[in-house]
């Protein structure tokens, strides 16, 4: 440890940055996590490198981790410049699940819509080229004040919309106002009307409702609806009706039933993309996508499941990208009414799950067990203080007896998406020995959300018309804010279990306000404990996100939220 070098950095950092530096120096966070967190809170790469060197290490692939604080040249990270090698020209054909409907950037809820809109529209913070973290997008840099309550974003200059209009801070402010009005799941309670202010044409200042150290993630690729749209976009404007964007590709055709096509945006700020265009082809199931790839009619799959996509793992001409994520399934149980209103019944059900068996059957081991809370083991603030719940049929029976429940018969609602139908059947068989009779009831996934998970009515509180028992899919988030804010906070917009807990709301509030690694970890320990005990949802696993492309293409990278970044993609040779 070179204390003299370390002290130099210590003297030049803000209190928040100092906390992260100290956490790394004392071994409480990994080097990777230090780079990640340091860049998020505005620490320069030079400063990060100095700390790592002082602590006896070397920085690796700093460009891949170039986050907010470090000013990056246009196209140097994230939505990056064209690949150095590879043939120019051509179109990549991407297979994706059929989207739900029109491409409303603010209201979209499915991964395919996320992926399509992200070809034309861009985020303040995009995905780093190694797909591990956020990187400068339309924002070139971002810095918090000492309390994490005020964030200043410097925007790229020289960016234009597809129609030639200059991109300015006014577009960002108008977008944020629309997101606030729409009750965006990631930003609700974080910013309010008037929180975003254009300080000048290329600077936006966000004054948050309360301090939030993860704010850049909430205006990044990981909050899929936070795409920046033109100031002129009114609520309800859809990309397919009013094609616009600052991104590398322009939408030329969109048919919800068949696919979407894009052509290169020759005036993109990141330079000329190697590909002439992108074609999305929509499918209803992964099996058809795999067949289409084998027949040579598609080049890439945005996402596939391990069972339907089994042939791809052994295909020598296909690159499988496997990313550990916080993707998971929530088996919600209505906590306010019905068969699961008593906590003991929910705990009993959670105890029937044989998580390792589920992971092996459904993912061939490509997942990790979850513990009925959303703080995944990958998060730096994950606390291992809560004992992992394992299958215990005897205890489940005891809990049911304590609750006075005998011969429990319930219907398990689910959407037909990836492995979920198989999960429903496995849950049925695992719960049976405890005396819980489950009837799986599957519906088309597009209709499922509105019919079972969050029905139209009653609208207040949200999701109060949800079924009493069901499985819903949740995509990856680099921080748990969206999960906690939407699915568990009282009156959260995706709170299908109608869970309401003062203890949880307080713990979540503590987490949001927490400054520093130790404080966040302590807050998360409380969250884990409360959720694991109350079990408003049972969560069996966090599974790896699987995507891939034919080896005839290079430079393709994908977020775990279905956004396939193709600005650097090119044909091989």
């Amino acid at each position: 440890m070179d204390y003299s070098e370390l002290d130099k950095v210590r003297r030049s950092t803000t209190p928040l940055q100092l906390d992260v530096v100290e956490s790394f120096a004392r071994g409480r966070i990994s080097r990777r996590e230090f780079i990640k967190r340091g860049t998020i809170i505005g620490q320069s790469m030079a400063s990060i490198s100095a700390v790592i060197a002082a602590c006896g290490g070397t920085t690796t692939s700093p460009s891949a981790s170039t986050g907010g604080g470090a000013s990056a040249p246009a196209g140097s990270a994230g939505a990056s410049a064209p690949a150095a090698s590879g043939a120019a020209g051509g179109t990549i054909r991407v297979a994706a699940q059929r989207p739900k409907g029109a491409l409303d950037p603010v209201a979209m809820v499915d991964l395919t819509s996320y992926g399509i809109t992200a070809q034309s529209l861009e985020f303040l913070c995009t995905l780093s080229a190694d797909a591990s973290d956020i990187a400068p997008g339309l924002a070139l840099s971002w810095t918090p004040d000492s309390t994490n309550a005020v964030w200043t974003f410097k925007l790229r200059t020289g960016v234009t919309w597809h129609d030639g209009t200059p991109f300015t801070a006014d577009d960002v402010v108008a977008t944020m106002e629309r997101l606030v009005t729409a009750g965006n799941s990631g930003l609700k309670g974080v910013i309010a009307a008037g929180s975003a202010v254009a300080t000048d044409a290329n600077t936006v200042t966000f004054t948050l409702v309360s301090p939030n150290g993860n704010f850049p993630y909430l205006v990044s690729v990981f909050n899929a609806q936070s795409l920046i749209t033109p100031k002129a976009y009114a609520a309800g404007t859809t990309l397919d009706k009013a094609a616009a964007g600052t991104g590398p590709f322009k939408l030329t055709k969109y048919d919800v039933a068949s696919g979407a096509t894009f052509v290169r945006n020759d005036t993109w700020w990141g330079g000329k993309t190697p590909l002439d265009g992108v074609e999305f082809i929509f499918f209803d199931d992964t099996g058809s996508m795999v067949t289409a790839y084998q027949g040579g009619q598609i080049d890439a799959l945005v996402q596939f499941d391990v069972l339907s996509g089994a042939p791809l793992f052994t295909d020598a001409n296909f690159t499988v990208v496997e990313t550990p994520t916080t993707n998971h399934r929530q088996i919600w149980m209505r906590a306010d009414t019905g068969a699961f209103a008593k906590k003991e019944v929910r705990q009993a059900f959670a105890l029937t799950m044989d998580r390792p068996a589920l992971i092996q059957s459904l993912f061939k081991g490509k997942a990790v067990p979850a513990n009925d809370h959303v703080i995944a083991p990958f998060y730096p603030y994950f606390s291992d203080t809560v004992t992992q719940r394992v299958q215990n049929i005897d205890m489940a029976k005891q809990l049911l007896a304590t609750a006075g429940v005998t011969d429990l018969k319930v219907t398990l609602q689910y959407g037909k998406l990836n492995e979920i139908p198989d999960l429903a059947v496995l849950l049925q068989s695992q719960a049976a020995p405890a005396g819980i009779t489950i009837t799986p009831a599957g519906t088309d996934n597009g209709a499922f959300y509105g019919a079972q998970w969050c029905p139209d009515a009653p609208a207040d509180p949200p999701c109060s018309g949800a079924a009493e028992f069901g499985i819903v899919d949740y995509g990856h988030r680099p921080t748990p804010d969206v999960f906690l804010n939407s699915a568990f906070k009282s009156k959260g917009v995706w709170n299908s279990s109608q869970y309401s807990s003062a203890a949880f709301d307080s713990a979540f509030s503590d987490f949001q306000k927490a400054v520093g690694v130790d404080a966040q970890k302590a807050a998360c320990a409380n969250i884990e404990k409360v959720l694991n005990d109350d079990v408003p949802v049972a969560i069996p696993y966090f599974y790896n996100y699987l995507s891939g492309n034919a080896k005839t293409f290079q430079g393709v990278y994908t977020s775990a939220l279905g956004q396939m970044f193709l600005s650097s993609a090119s044909k091989v040779g």
């Binding site: 409907g101 209201a107 009750g183 039933a257 068949s258 082809i281 067949t291 027949g295 598609i298 609208a459």
Partner: protein, 317 residues
């Protein structure tokens, strides 16, 4: 003939009106708030009410019914709830795609199956007849999704002879389009071969046993002349009726085939509309398929009347 045609046309229009009425009744029986469906669960109630007012879905049912019938006459189906675009061009696109697929399937099926049926009839109870009958029964008892899947795996994936997706690239020329549509068309043709061949065989056998054919043979007409002048014209009347029904069925879209080959025809369009409560699209789809059925059966009636003068004479009386 004109009188016959007019009567059939009036009957068809009445059928279409009944169909429209049934569709309206069924779609309005569904417990659904149209504006809420469009705007989603999180939209403010004021926006939902405003949209219902704009769409006219807050009006009394009888007013909506009269309005819908009036619009149907002008083929104004409104906008899709899902894509928020005009329904008619989307439906016409889907019908166009289904027409291509159905047309190719019929082009393959009709000549082969009629020829096989008539050939089998002329060699009744011989090995070739039994072979054709067996082939027909077997092919029509294998569902399209089995045939389609086998074709995809063998012809598309293993041999890579034909594309596994049926949608051709934009602006593809006719040979390319045929190449893309060939596998699904064959999958459909295999099933319908059995139906049509058996019908043609049965009709031909019946006619071959009739007195006037015996007379024609006795007066010295060759077998070819007898077949061409007397047998086919009478034997194929029931076959024409079957083909007309199949045309309507094929235009309506074979959902299984469209799914396997990821082809966005009428079947996939209608299924998607049903799954997403897209009532304008669903209504338009049912009506358009009804029109196709009507035109196909009307055409079959006309052909039948042309082939058999007794039918039009009966109708004219």
């Amino acid at each position: 003939m004109t009188r016959y045609f007019s009567r059939r046309l009036v009957l068809s229009l009445i059928t279409l009106w009944l169909l429209a009425t049934i569709v309206f009744v069924i779609t309005n029986m569904l417990p659904s708030d149209v504006a809420r469906t469009i705007l989603g669960p999180f939209a403010p109630q004021e926006s939902v009410d405003a949209l219902n007012q704009r769409l006219g879905t807050d009006r009394p049912l009888i007013v909506q019914y009269v309005d819908q019938i009036r619009k149907l006459v002008t083929l104004d189906f409104g906008d899709s709830f899902v894509s928020q675009r005009a329904v008619l061009p989307q439906i016409l696109d889907a019908v166009g795609r289904s027409a291509k697929l159905a047309g190719l399937a019929l082009l393959i099926t009709i000549p082969i199956s009629i020829a096989a049926g008539v050939f089998a009839a002329t060699r009744r109870d011989r090995k070739i007849d039994r072979g054709i009958v067996l082939l027909g029964v077997t092919s029509s008892s294998i569902p399209e999704f089995i045939t389609g899947t086998i074709l995809v795996v063998v012809v598309g994936v293993q041999l890579k002879l034909l594309p596994v997706l049926a949608t051709p690239p934009p602006n593809a020329d006719v040979p390319t389009q045929i190449r893309y549509l060939l596998m699904p068309a064959v999958a459909m043709a295999i099933v319908y071969f059995g139906y049509i061949a058996r019908m043609a065989r049965a009709g031909t056998i019946e006619v071959l046993g009739s007195d006037y054919i015996r007379t024609a043979t006795m007066k010295g007409l060759s077998t070819t002349q007898t077949m061409r002048r007397h047998v086919l014209r009478n034997a194929l009347i029931p076959t024409v009726a079957v083909i007309a029904v199949q045309i309507g069925y094929l235009f309506g879209g074979i959902i299984a085939v469209e799914k396997i080959f990821n082809y966005n025809g009428m079947g996939a369009t209608m299924l998607f509309a049903a799954q997403h409560k897209d009532l304008p699209m669903l209504t338009a789809g049912v009506i358009v398929i009804g029109i196709v059925y009507m035109v196909a059966t009307l055409g079959a009636d006309m052909i039948t009347a042309w082939m058999n003068p007794r039918i039009r004479l009966d109708a004219d009386r």
